[in-house]
Symmetry: C2
Amino acid sequence: MAKIAAVKGTRDFYPEQMAVRNWIMEGWRQAGLRNGYVEYDGPIFEHLRLFTEKSGEEIADQLFFFTDRGGRALALRPEITPTLARMVNEQINSLARPIKWFSVPRLFRAEKPQRGRLREFFQWNVDVIGSEDILADAECIYTAIDYLRSVGLSSKDVVVKISSRKVLAALLKDLGFAEDGLEEVYVLLDKRPKLPREAFDEMAAEQIKDQALRNRLKEMLQRLQPEASEDSLSKLKVLAPEAVQADIVSFSDLFYYLELMGVADYCEFDINIVRGLAYYTGPVYEIYDRREPLRAVCGGGRYDDLLAGLGGQEVPATGFGMGDVVLELMLKERGLLGGAAQGLDFFVIDAGRELFSFSREDKDRCVLAVVSRLREKGFSAAFDYKRQPLGKQLKQAAAQKARWAVILGDETIKEGKVNVKNMAQGGQRTVGLEEFLSRPGETVK
Amino acid sequence: MAKIAAVKGTRDFYPEQMAVRNWIMEGWRQAGLRNGYVEYDGPIFEHLRLFTEKSGEEIADQLFFFTDRGGRALALRPEITPTLARMVNEQINSLARPIKWFSVPRLFRAEKPQRGRLREFFQWNVDVIGSEDILADAECIYTAIDYLRSVGLSSKDVVVKISSRKVLAALLKDLGFAEDGLEEVYVLLDKRPKLPREAFDEMAAEQIKDQALRNRLKEMLQRLQPEASEDSLSKLKVLAPEAVQADIVSFSDLFYYLELMGVADYCEFDINIVRGLAYYTGPVYEIYDRREPLRAVCGGGRYDDLLAGLGGQEVPATGFGMGDVVLELMLKERGLLGGAAQGLDFFVIDAGRELFSFSREDKDRCVLAVVSRLREKGFSAAFDYKRQPLGKQLKQAAAQKARWAVILGDETIKEGKVNVKNMAQGGQRTVGLEEFLSRPGETVK
């Protein structure tokens, strides 16, 4: 039969790619723990309704869904926040607050695969549930920066663009938008940076029928457009009408906390950040590659209504997601990608004639016994199935990046001795087999 | 709206369960690396055909399948072996052999959830591709035992029951079964241990119409039935007809290698082991809980035809899978389950009046700055969002299992000093803030 290919938009993780994936995931985990979060995870699929209920159209359009044998409508998770909300709702009375949790879920979106966007990907999710304090938002943003900094991305490489749906809502209402029309405007604004100007104008004209209102919106956006040389948060304070000032004061605290945490140089206010998901209620942010203004590696914000919206109590919440695909691209371009494969500790080589037979009389001195005892002590060890000449076995040891080759030969049988060869430096010494096996780590120091 | 529940047969991993899952996965990973395998992974879903083609009916009946927007038939992976075969086929000419790979995939089966069987689970998969030597089978079995032993399961807890499809095929053909009728018999035999005697007889009568043949099969199975007090491999040698002896010799090597590797006490020959999957061709084995004879934690075997069957070259292969659900049950029952949550390194407490304001003049000495600097140095650190009285903050520190509490107070501002309290032993010392921050690990030694 013909070969069956992988599904488009998915990835095969050969050992080399797997090592990179593990390196990214481990970095995320360490940053999560370092910042005082604990890890959780949920199922890969949930009842379809969990995702269609509160996340908004963009997500619903991108779901992989199916029915089980009982006819239940299920979907592969496109994000983990609804699962997080469901899990926290389930145990809200027994969980100590604030609930600081992180996860590194595998997620799925049925969109057209393109550079930086796949149908299957990983995302680091970091959330604080149970605190309405903007300190929690600051700590989430700090955590994202802490990770990016730990892998070598400075404030010259990435920028956290921060806005506030609360401030934006106040501004929009001040312009004359109705409360129940805001979500439509958010969706429109979220698409703005990705659209050519004409396409945006057309879409805006279609969604905002009132021309005067539309013009006021455009004018406001233009006035608040961030420019490199100035402090756009101060500009917001100056330009914003009185009705919005109270929300701006609280929003300013966020920047102040980030300054105290020592990461102000990574952060800036940007009115254009809205986020596509329907459930955000407060600060929202996206982290961009400074070299590619449309490339976001991370996005998040406050979603105080989601838990109640999914049948729980009113519990404030905030958090972000950082995807692996764009992150890997960014790190690779900058030569910052880690995850080089680890080699073996020992490769055990059979250079004696007798040993090839694995004879029972010498069973404690044969390759299989020596390899097994090394593994039992926690060292990684391998050997050659083919039992080839010494030179070929040494090549195998090198190919598997073994740090030490342990050479068994006739003198192993006769005198109980082995040769231990340092594969990197080339030195070699003869040592008693039992002495070596009782403390392999000491012997090769 | 009403709460939406998790899908039946899936698991929520709250932090406590997640720690256990991570402990199991990390143990698997370490055992894989220790035995000279490297890690890989594939996508969660594949083209449906990849699974229906060669795995046999049992798997095909348990698939979660769906179509994507292009109308392609996809399925969630119920096992990773077909993906492994696909990936290796793809790069067969550039991969050095033997290919020793492991993976810890998340898998899915649309079966009725019950104790020890869920619809979503993890499985450690360990495979050697490119060696027809039975040493490779021995090393896979050793690797499974190496892990089980490392978590405290002795040969009194678990037993590896080993048989050979090659030997069984020779025995069956000697009884009079046709080559193309063997697979049906395998499926039947695989179900035998799980069925009441009458049900099995009924099923046998249905599938093997020839009564004489059926009786010969039953008689053979009875004669080879393993009994505690004897060496059933020797019994096989004595009882088996001449035509089967050659296959038995090679099969015996497997037990010899396992003896040399020091794990003979875990292993025994058992004619009842067949395995449900269609693609096995040589040695097959399952690892059972000795306390519960029907509870298997691991299964595997040789599948020399699968890669060619999926469009690749003829390449021999062997390996096993070990599931997390039964493993966790077994470990829990024996009190061997690890994965206790790690606590924080530092909890930074704010005991000073001035510090509550996070005032800009003292910004390098405030809680946020101290926490951030600890994290920057790689230590895990947290603080209290609510900025409560000292006693309450100390309780938070204890609740988060912090090893050290770092207490900032008025003297931190005035004299640049902090108190560092050992949370376990209760001791406390005063130290300069800068001295502490420059080497936090040393200070608390």
